[in-house]
């Protein structure tokens, strides 16, 4: 079964969509993280209460949620796009990557459940976990002689 349904140029489209939307959605967190690190480095121990809401106030919570979904769609487009040359070996690597991703995802989920029974995580953690693990594993398998 062929699941790579999109042409190769969609890889660039997915990547651009992901980069732009994730820049917007993670903007506030990046600013706050930078400020926190900068102040900690200068020895300011007091907690800074006024956190940056630059992107949140400009776009609003609903739009940020939409951008977050667009970021996920961007990675999904990247994942479902064909390679420049599609052949049996690439398909084999892809299937192995899906298999390994599913196993690693399950192991991480089980370990989280074992060590922290009451831990509640939102779905986006698992979505990103699966998407990123697949992309990283597939890229490594393609490049490194495993």
């Amino acid at each position: 079964m062929k699941i790579q349904i999109l042409p190769n140029w969609c890889k660039k489209l997915g990547l651009i969509l992901f980069l732009i939307t994730s820049f917007i959605t993670s903007g506030d967190a990046a600013i706050n993280g930078y400020n926190h690190g900068y102040n900690a480095g200068r020895g300011y121990s007091q907690v800074i209460k006024n956190k940056s809401t630059l992107f949140l106030s400009y776009f609003g919570e609903n739009f940020l949620h939409i951008f977050d979904i667009l970021a996920i769609i961007g990675i999904l487009i990247y994942m479902l796009s064909k390679e420049k040359v599609e052949d049996d070996y690439i398909n084999k690597l892809r299937l192995e990557s899906y298999q390994l991703t599913a196993i690693i995802g399950l192991i991480i989920s089980i370990l989280l459940y074992v060590f922290s029974k009451d831990l509640k995580l939102t779905l986006d953690y698992f979505i990103y976990l699966y998407l990123w693990f697949y992309i990283i594993i597939f890229s490594i398998k393609k490049r490194i002689d495993l």
Partner: protein
């Protein structure tokens, strides 16, 4: 399965990328075949044999 793809490729003075583009497959595929990590499909084996002007049996053999 052992194969003589690397030998034949050297005889024709081709890089993995050259051979891959002539056969319409990825460079990684040629690399994996040469390293005995991937057995090509019958179609690709025949294509390779025809390209090198040898028989499939000569190019690929079972490792006993």
């Amino acid at each position: 399965m052992k194969n003589l793809v690397k030998v034949e490729r050297a005889r024709y003075d081709l890089t993995q990328a050259d051979l891959a583009s002539k056969l319409g497959v990825s460079r990684q595929t040629i690399h994996a075949i040469e390293k005995n990590k991937f057995n090509p499909s019958v179609t690709l084996a025949i294509k390779m044999a025809r390209f090198f002007k040898v028989t499939v049996e000569y190019l690929f053999d079972i490792d006993e």
